[in-house]
């Protein structure tokens, strides 16, 4: 039986992620125990919340070092993706620095609403997690901050600006959208992650 661990911290609620994994036949544990995280086959780092508060919480418990040193596949979701970047404008905070890109707030008065809330299209998808998806798939986003495009961008989307809808480097994968709420497309992505 595959061991999947969800990082427990003070950001958001993880129930939807648990249900989505259950539907794929996996029963994850939710933990902040470094040993359990290190021993898992896959680690998921979800999150809805504020970046600087979340970073302070991770640092206080040493989870920042645990996460960056994980060797198995790690999937960051939403705030998880942003915390895996270099720096976030939200609370002006240095993040985990796994991805060499900064997180900025969507511009005001650019003719779009902030937060971006709803279904948007993925473009230029690359990598194993997007295998089996149509060239343009719709996924569900809820966010006010975004990671810019970078060489590590694995999929992009557009909301006033082009941004990284997904990032990937070595064993680290991240989605700005919510695969657990993105209908069939999201389910394919999570299944691909579990099969890495």
């Amino acid at each position: 039986m595959m061991k999947v661990a969800i990082v427990k911290y003070n950001a958001g609620n993880v129930q939807s992620v648990i249900y989505a994994l259950n539907r794929l036949g996996v029963n994850p544990i939710v933990t902040d125990d470094p040993e359990l995280l290190q021993q898992a086959d896959k680690v998921i780092f979800p999150g809805v919340g504020e970046a600087s508060t979340a970073m302070a919480y991770l640092k206080e418990r040493g989870l920042d070092q645990v996460i960056v040193n994980l060797k198995q596949p790690v999937l960051g979701i939403c705030l998880g993706l942003q915390l895996m970047c270099k720096h976030s404008e939200e609370g002006d905070v240095d993040c985990l620095g796994i991805f060499d890109v900064d997180v900025k707030r969507f511009p005001a008065n650019a003719g779009v609403k902030v937060p971006q809330m709803g279904w948007n299209k993925l473009h230029h998808m690359k990598g194993l997690l997007f295998e089996g998806l149509p060239a343009e798939s719709y996924v569900y986003f809820v966010h006010s901050y975004y990671a810019a495009l970078s060489p590590e961008t694995a999929a992009q989307s557009t909301h006033a600006v082009d941004f990284s809808a997904s990032l990937q480097k070595d064993n680290f994968y991240a989605m700005q959208f919510h695969p657990e709420k993105s209908s069939e497309a999201g389910s394919v992505i999570l299944k691909n992650f579990l099969e890495l």
């Binding site: 958001g12 609620n13 129930q15 939807s16 249900y19 989505a20 259950n22 539907r23 809805v48 919340g49 504020e50 005001a108 779009v112 609403k113 902030v114 937060p115 971006q116 809330m117 709803g118 279904w119 948007n120 299209k121 719709y138 569900y140 986003f141 809820v142 557009t158 909301h159 919510h178 657990e180 709420k181 993105s182 209908s183 069939e184 999201g186 389910s187």
Partner: protein
Amino acid sequence: MLTKRIIPCLDIKDGKTVKGVNFVDLKDAGDPVELAEIYSREGADELVFLDITATVEKRKTLVELVTKVASKINIPFTVGGGISTIEDVSVLLKAGADKVSINSSAVKRPELINELAGEFGSQCVVVAIDTRYVDGEHIVHVKGGREATELRTIEWAKEVQERGAGEILLTSMDHDGTKNGFALELTGYLTKLLNIPVIASGGAGTMEHFADIFKEDQADAALAASIFHFKEIAIPDLKQYLLDNDIEMRH
């Protein structure tokens, strides 16, 4: 580009769907879990559950229902009805709801919006506004639209945005149940005025009505109940129609 959203709404009482449904393939015509699965499969972009259960004891039924629905569907869903404290919201989110909708309780104590946004984030706070045109002004109503307040709709909408609401669900009492179309003017005005999404509700009768409200960005999403429950409009047909009319849809 962000798509427009189609949102079926289920009215729930004591764990069952009320207002009637007409799905022939349902085992139990009132089972909201089955209905949620059908709508999710048919391409609904979100779901809204409004609990109209009267008593506190029966709220437990709602939490069980939210758990069942959340474990089955993979699209966002909002739960509303009878929410007035952080604890109410916490229980629903832990059961798997993505957002909550508050209405009368926000009018009664507007600070509730700030408290919920601070505790759970704006993205999960939907403020529902029931509005009626009275003596030349749009006035906020509460208690299912039965009771007028002193609040002007446009001022109240601006206030809830400032207090941290993530979305507004605007129901026009003048249009609700008429099947004559959404309240285009007021909804369009608020959609352009505000920086948070506005969901149009009340008055949907035909596919053209959805095209009307989405043209020129007069709403970010549209909600309807009976036309979906009675299969007067099927979601896949509606989405195809809107795509044919150059409206961005998830398909």
